[in-house]
Symmetry: C2
Subunit: 213 residues, 2 copies
Amino acid sequence: MTTSATPPQPKARDGRPTREAILRASARLMHLHGYHATSLDDVLRESGVGKGNFYHYFKSKEDLGHAILDRLVTALLEGTVDPCFSGGGLSDIRCFLDRLVESLRQRNCVGGCALGNLASELSDVHEGFRRRLAEVFCAWRERLTRSLAEAQTRGEVREDCRPETVAHFLVASLEGAILMSKVAKDIGVMEQCVGELKRYLTVYERPHPERLS
Amino acid sequence: MTTSATPPQPKARDGRPTREAILRASARLMHLHGYHATSLDDVLRESGVGKGNFYHYFKSKEDLGHAILDRLVTALLEGTVDPCFSGGGLSDIRCFLDRLVESLRQRNCVGGCALGNLASELSDVHEGFRRRLAEVFCAWRERLTRSLAEAQTRGEVREDCRPETVAHFLVASLEGAILMSKVAKDIGVMEQCVGELKRYLTVYERPHPERLS
């Protein structure tokens, strides 16, 4: 199948706009099987898009990989982080932790974190993806850092808390907890880890009477 | 190359006993590239062992994968965990955390955790490896659980600490921290995460005057 005098947004076999169909199919495949184990043929078969049409939207599999990363970080920030964040400091962060547990429970711990999987697979063998993944995790951490810094300004969080360091630890611990839940196929692992992360946050929480007004 | 009237322990090109040469070469390749991306031909080329000789020691690539997992968990427990553990409770755990930081620093954050990488790659696509990996992480957690339980018996750790839950969290957080250091290629990430894990442990630490004698 090749592109000819196609309309600006041709449809794939299932009727979705082509670019979206390619992204959805390839993200689904790579989430389970990884970047290298997902071939272009797999993507074409899964999306019902022809090779010519694929190259109309993506220069290469690498280009597709970067588009998937953009999509993943947008989904994480806009779909999971932002809905919890309303200037509430530690309660926002606790809400976000609970949301991650529910998301993993709904998926029966299958798939793990798509970003974490790609980070594990690609960070030592593809410098371009490593740099992009580092930026993606940085964007995630920045949301948490900002929220912690605001809570610190309001006096909810102690002075000896370094928001950026805590954000580093939260993101890393969550990535590890998601991975260990995926190995154990047991949501109880995630629940226990999130419970301990909440205990950890109490280290920096200023008791109510001490808070600045 | 095929096996003929070989001595019980034939040598590979570099003089190492053959089974050991295969294990070393394949563990090194899989650590960086993953299980699926490492072909049997890659292993034979890297180890200098012939195909016939390979099948003298391993029934299949999967059989090799399990032998590598055995080797990895032995190296982790006997090489990194046990030397720190001498019945010292939390100080043993802190020693182990510092040892992991040094190990990662020496490798310039390259490779990440070989067990974590395999867990990320294989847990959703190979049930046999998933089960074995779950056992491996369980063995690691058991060492930490035992140490925490002993420290609790001595009164060094508070009563509300659940050793198994804390061990789950420690292993998960360390896996995440190693992964995030691999993405950032920055040992500072690991140092920050280990610093926060030590802060977390203080939640359960009983102040000295309260300890049981």
